[in-house]
């Protein structure tokens, strides 16, 4: 308990079963004035019920346009420790796998130069060092790189891509999401560290339609693993599930299949794969008996984002099926082409999804050389305002 700060409300939040962020700040406050003043200014916000942080200025490390979020408090005299309270974004390993050694390296650096507080991890997927001062940024950067770490993205750049655990542990994985994430991060380091886009661009890779990175909602480019052929059925294992008490195959699997393409006669499970849309439900419920097909690839989707300015978007199908094999050349080429078109036409702070919405799907598809296919729409247009190119109208 920092002696000189009365924080009754934050103290109350140390109680209760759920792990306490208040306790975490106090642990750090024992060794960092920055953390101590964070405690103080946060208590003040709890009292005032408004934030005491001001707009972040432009801070960063040499040669990078991003990776650091500048932050200044509006009561620097009263809380000098958080006059500066910048955050440093560290690009994590794909799938967020660490060794204790690696984490200790990072902690050592951060205890040395910062508040000792982190976000593990940020919503985009960076490991965030929460709270340091401008002059510490260069030393932090050099010690990080010396240990093989680098900064993530911020500003109008490719942000830190993230992936689901995929083939490292999940039997549902149709693509090597961790490797794809790693490859793309390394292929586009320049676009990540030197912001040059109209606005931010986020990539998330989920190896099946369960979408464990929430990519359809939180990424401009959503890469979702899928398969072209049939679901692999182990009828013996299906029978085991039937015998086990804890699943009613008819009601919980067959009846909940969204395309009604399954049938079960008590001994054999049939799937009419032509009608299956690979929603993952039956496979989720009977992983021993059902597995995705073997002809694997990814559905590529574009445009997911938060509401500002024209309303939230969920990514749209632009490529129903793309084979993804190292080094993913076709995917990288597609990404470059879409960036080129977005650079050329995007207004300042206009996400790529908003640009497609403004200029129309046709303009995008023609620019990146993708054909219009029914999988791109829930249904064809109901609106009769149809454009024709002059040369199409003989």
């Amino acid at each position: 308990m920092s002696n000189d700060r009365k924080t009754p409300m934050l103290d109350d939040l140390e109680k209760g079963k759920w792990p306490s962020f208040a306790k975490e700040i106090k642990k750090a406050a024992a060794r960092s004035d920055t953390a101590k003043d964070l405690l103080g200014i946060l208590e003040r916000s709890y009292k005032d019920r408004v934030t005491h942080w001001k707009h972040g200025g432009i801070v960063g490390v040499l040669g990078y346009g991003g990776g650091v979020i500048g932050r200044y408090c509006d009561l620097p005299e009263e809380f000098p420790g958080v006059a500066h309270f910048h955050t440093v974004r560290v690009n994590p390993p794909s799938g967020f796998f660490y060794t204790s050694q690696a984490l200790r390296d990072l902690c050592d650096i951060w205890d040395k130069y910062g508040s000792g507080l982190t976000n593990t991890h940020g919503s985009t997927g960076d490991l965030i060092f929460l709270g340091t001062q401008t002059d510490k940024l260069e030393p932090i950067f050099s010690e990080l790189t010396a240990k093989g770490w680098d900064l993530g993205g911020s500003g109008s750049c490719l942000r830190t891509p993230s992936s689901c655990v995929g083939m490292a542990r999940c039997e549902f994985a149709n693509i090597d999401s961790m490797n794809i994430c790693h490859e793309l991060t390394h292929e586009f380091q320049d676009e990540l560290h030197r912001p040059a886009f109209p606005y931010k661009f986020k990539i998330k890779v989920s190896a099946c339609a369960n979408d464990c990175t929430a990519s359809v909602a939180r990424a401009d480019l959503s890469i979702i693993g899928t398969w072209r052929d049939n679901i692999r059925i182990d009828q013996a294992e299906v029978k085991n599930y039937a015998k086990s008490k804890n699943i009613n195959i008819q009601e919980e699997v067959v009846d909940m299949c969204p395309t009604k393409c399954m049938s079960w006669d008590g001994s054999t499970l049939k799937i009419n794969d032509k009608d299956c849309n690979r929603c993952m439900h039956c496979i989720n419920l009977m992983p021993k008996a059902l597995r995705p097909g073997k002809e694997k690839g990814a559905t590529i989707m574009l445009g997911g984002k938060a509401p500002i300015v024209t309303g939230a978007l969920m990514s749209w199908v632009i490529v129903p099926f793309m084979k993804l094999e190292k080094p993913y050349t076709e995917l990288k080429e597609l990404i470059r082409k879409m960036w080129e078109w977005w650079d050329e036409h995007g207004k300042n702070r206009e996400r790529i999804g908003e640009l497609v919405d403004r200029m129309g799907m046709r303009a995008f598809l023609e620019a990146v050389g993708l054909p219009p296919v029914p999988q791109m729409v829930k249904a064809p247009r109901t609106n009769p305002y149809v454009f024709w190119k002059a040369e199409e109208v003989k």
């Binding site: 209760g16 759920w18 306490s20 962020f21 306790k23 975490e24 700040i25 946060l42 916000s45 709890y46 019920r49 408004v50 934030t51 005491h52 942080w53 690009n91 390993p93 794909s94 799938g95 967020f96 796998f97 060794t99 204790s100 050694q101 690696a102 984490l103 990072l106 902690c107 507080l117 982190t118 976000n119 593990t120 919503s123 929460l130 050099s142 010396a146 680098d150 993230s162 083939m167 542990r169 090597d176 961790m178 790693h182 991060t185 390394h186 380091q189 339609a209 369960n210 990175t213 929430a214 990519s215 359809v216 909602a217 993952m280 989720n284 992983p287 021993k288 938060a306 500002i308 939230a312």
Partner: protein, 357 residues
Amino acid sequence: MADKPKRITDLGSPDYNKFLPPVIAKNYGKWKYHEYINKGVMKHVSETGDELYTVRVATPRLCSTDFIREMCEIADKFSGGHLRYTTRHNVEFFPTKDKVEPLQAELKKRGHLVGGIGYGISNVVHTQGWIHCHTPATDASGVVKAVMDELHEYFTTKTLPARVRIALACCLNMCGAVHCSDIAILGIHRKPPRVLKETFANQCETPTTIAACPTGAISPDPATKSVKIKEERCMYCGNCYTMCPSLPLADATGDGISIWVGGKVSNARGPARMSKLAIPFLPNNPPRWPEVVKAVKHLVEVYAANARKHERMGEWIERIGWERFFKLTGLPFTYQHIDDFTFARESFRMTPTFKWE
């Protein structure tokens, strides 16, 4: 200067292979099926017959290096020094079979919560709030702590008809999939920005500020070399403040929290979909936000009592109809529930078929 070590840049992410537990490195891409042992432990079995145990632990996401070092200590003792974080900020250890029980016991002894697997409530994806952001309309960590202190049993022991993903965002920028969550806690402002005329000129550019507004509520005010705001067109989204520090809109009484329900990201049983408004406003009442906690708990309980197995909240509501959702939860249906932005009409009911309640 010559002897200064050459500056290393553009390293990108370290190679994940260095961090994979041996059993994972060996069975990468060969996993066959998984089984849940309990709500905090699961087993994956590979085509080679190898087994991988995973024990998942909750974290407050805002963690001190002390906390991380503790995780490292536990990893060294029970997980060969290996661990990973999930996409919802939980830690996962990879104990050998014999160490599964002792690891759980150790974690419990240290006051950690083992759980978050299967049909329940995992960690709440949330954002910076009053801890680090300049545009919040509420705190993030505090609300999450208060809510999960109430609902932690759904993380550790209690099951629900299906996964209930709760997320919080402290403003309409929605840093995190708040717009596609079973239950979303969204900080909202309710008062238009105040125009600080004296600092506007040197802090802001008029054109970008005007262009920031989704409803065109801002127009130039040459007289004061700043702007004026048509209050009846402002819906307090805060985007002008993001672009121009002289348009603050945070307000102790105006700001608060709205609750949205029925969104999801997965496509199982039906497509991903967005969260819909359930409760337009609850007051900011730190440190424990009792009204918010009560509301979220009530929603979880009504869902638990009525949904079928595997039905996510949105799927349940679509089956019974939104009319019945408001009836069952007792929540009032107000003007705010009816959309009035660009695509409003797409949400209007264009059929005389509905339930009376």
